[in-house]
Amino acid sequence: MAFLHRHRWLTPYALLAPGIAWLLIFFVVPLGFLGYQSLEERDPVALTSSFSWAWHNYADAITTYHTQFVRSLEYAGLATLIALVVSYPLAYFIAFRGGQWKNLLLLLIVAPFFVTYLIRTLAWQNILADNGAVVGFLRDVHVLGADGRLLQTGTAVVAGITYNFLPFMALPLYVSLEQIDVRLLEAAEDLYASKLHAFLRVTLPLSLPGVFAGTLLTFIPAMGDFINAQLLGSPRNHMIGNVIQARFLDLNDYPEAAALSFVLMAAILIAVIVYARMLGTEKLTG
C-alpha cells in the first residue's frame, strides 16, 4: 500500500495486472500456440506432428473444406438476416410503444436464453419433428411433400441458428432505438414527412449502429457454431465448426484443425470488413 502510494503511476498497472495477465496467458498465448501448430507437418502413419513451416495445411484446409466454408457463410448470413428482420420491428415496438412495460418486455426477450443452449436446441428437435405440428401443417398445405421433413435439412439448421442467437440481435437494436430523441421524429412530421419517410430518413439511419452491432454479435458466433448442424442437420449440412471439432477431438489431426481455425477467423474478418464498408460505419460511429 505504502509502496503504491509513493509510486502513484503504478496504480493502474497494479489494477490491470491480474486480469490482463489472465487474458494474455489464456487467450493470446494459446492463439500463438494454435498458429505454431497450424504449421506443423503431420506424419500420417505415426500420427505425430512436428514443426516444419507447413503452409500447405492452409491450402489443404481451403481446398478440402471449401464447401463447408461456403455453407457456413450461407447459413450464418441467412440466419443473421432473418434474425434482423424478425427482431427489428420487435425492438422498435418495445422502444417506442413499451412505455412503463419496457423492462418487462425486455425480460421476455432475454428469458428464453436462460434455458441451456443445448436444451433449447433439443426443443427445436421436438418442434420440427416428423410427426410434429409444424411438419404436419406444411405437408397439408403442400409446402412439403407427403414424406417431406424438416429435421436433417438445412432449413432446420438455419432455423436453429436464427433462434439461438436472437437476443444478440434484438438487444443492440433495442439500445440504439431507445436512444433516439423522439423530438427528431416530431420535427420530421412537423416538416410534413410522412410516417414512412420519417422512419426511412430519421429512425433507420439513427439505428444503424445497433444494426451493425447486432449483425456482428449474431454472425460471428453463428459462423463458428457446430451444435445446430449436429443436432438439427445431417452430415450434408455440416458447417466448418463441425469439421474443426471432428478434426480436433475425434481425429486428433491438430495441424489441420488449427489451420482451419485460422481460415475461419480470416473468413469472419473479411466478411466483417466488407459489411462495414457496405454500411459505411466509419461515417456512422465517427
Partner: protein, 283 residues
C-alpha cells in the same frame, strides 16, 4: 390522438373494409410483437411441457402422456446430479474471480490515464468477438503442448478467461456515468482514498458489479463449446446434455432446464420490480 378524435375518424370512414384496414394499420405492429414474443417463448413452452412427458423409448421426442414422475425422480438419472454440482461449482468460482479481475480492469480504464490503453481495450474486445470454437481449440492446444491434464481446473481457467471481458464492459458503463463530485466531496470531508473507495465508489458501482457477476454466472453455466474442448473426463451439465442427446434424452434434462429458467427469470423479475418500486418511491 384523443379517444374522441379517434371516434370521429372512425365515423368518417364508412365502409367496413376501409375501417378494417385502418384498424389493421393501427394495430399491425402490436400484433406482430405478440407473434414475435410467441416465437421467442415457444421453445421454452416445449421444454417445460416435455418435462411432464412420459416417453415410451429412450428419447423424449414424442408426446406420450402426462406424468409428474420426472419431477419427483429428478435425480434418478445416473451422473446428472454430479454434472449439475460441477457446473454450479465452476460457475460460482469463475464468476467470483472474473468479477474481481474485470472490475479492477474497468477501474483502471476509467479512472487512470496510462500508456497502453489502446491495446488493453483491444485485448478486452477480442475474446468477445472470437468464435468460441477457436478459443476452445487454442486453449486445448496450450494445455496439450504443456501436457496439462484437462479437467475441472482447465474448465475453470477457460470460464474465467471468457467472462472477464463481459464484466469489464458492464462495470465500465456504470463508471463512465458516475458523478465524480461525490468522491471529491468525500475527500473534502477528510476521507482518504481507500475510505472513499470503500464508502462511496464501491456502493455506487455495486449494481454493475453484481450484474457482471450474474452475467458471468449465466455464461459459465451455459457454456458448452469451450468447455467441451477443455473438459477431459469432467462432465458439466451442458456436456451431460450433449452426451445424452446421442444415446438417450431423459425428461429429467427438461426438468433441470425448467428449474434453471424459473430461477433466472425469477431473479430478473425481482430485479425489475424492485427497480420500478425504487423509481416510484425515489422520485
Amino acid at each position: 390522438m384523443t379517444a374522441a378524435a379517434e371516434r370521429l375518424v372512425g365515423r368518417r370512414t364508412i365502409s367496413p373494409p376501409a375501417r378494417a384496414w385502418s384498424f389493421a394499420k393501427r394495430h399491425a405492429l402490436t400484433a406482430y410483437a405478440i407473434l414475435a414474443f410467441a416465437y421467442f417463448l415457444l421453445p421454452i413452452a416445449v421444454v417445460v411441457l416435455f418435462s411432464f412427458n412420459d416417453p415410451a423409448g429412450r428419447f423424449n421426442y414424442v408426446w406420450e402422456g402426462f406424468t409428474f414422475r420426472n419431477w419427483k425422480n429428478w435425480d434418478a438419472v445416473p451422473g446428472l446430479t454430479d454434472a449439475i454440482k460441477i457446473s454450479l461449482e465452476i460457475a460460482v468460482l469463475s464468476s467470483i474471480l472474473a468479477t474481481i479481475f474485470g472490475t479492477l480492469i474497468a477501474l483502471a480504464l476509467v479512472r487512470y490515464g496510462f500508456r497502453g490503453r489502446g491495446p488493453t481495450n483491444l485485448l478486452i474486445f477480442l475474446p468477445m468477438s472470437t468464435p468460441e470454437i477457436v478459443m476452445g481449440a487454442s486453449l486445448l492446444t496450450l494445455f496439450l503442448t504443456l501436457s496439462v491434464a484437462t479437467g475441472f481446473t482447465t474448465i475453470l481457467i477457460a470460464h474465467i478467461m471468457f467472462c472477464i471481458s463481459f464484466v469489464v464492459v458492464t462495470v465500465k458503463a456504470r463508471l463512465v456515468g458516475f458523478d465524480r463530485h461525490l468522491e471529491e466531496a468525500a475527500m473534502d470531508l477528510g476521507a482518504n482514498e481507500w475510505t472513499t473507495f470503500q464508502k462511496v465508489t464501491l456502493p455506487l458501482i455495486m449494481p454493475a458489479i453484481l450484474a457482471g457477476a450474474l452475467l458471468s454466472f449465466a455464461l459459465s453455466i451455459d457454456d458448452f463449446v469451450i468447455t467441451y474442448f477443455n473438459s477431459g473426463n469432467t462432465v458439466t451439465f451442458p456436456i451431460f446434455v450433449w452426451g445424452a442427446a446421442r444415446v438417450a434424452t431423459p425428461p429429467q434434462i427438461n426438468v433441470i432446464g425448467t428449474v434453471i429458467f424459473v430461477v433466472a427469470v425469477g431473479l430478473m423479475l425481482g430485479n425489475v420490480l424492485f427497480q420500478r418500486r425504487r423509481a416510484r418511491t425515489g422520485s
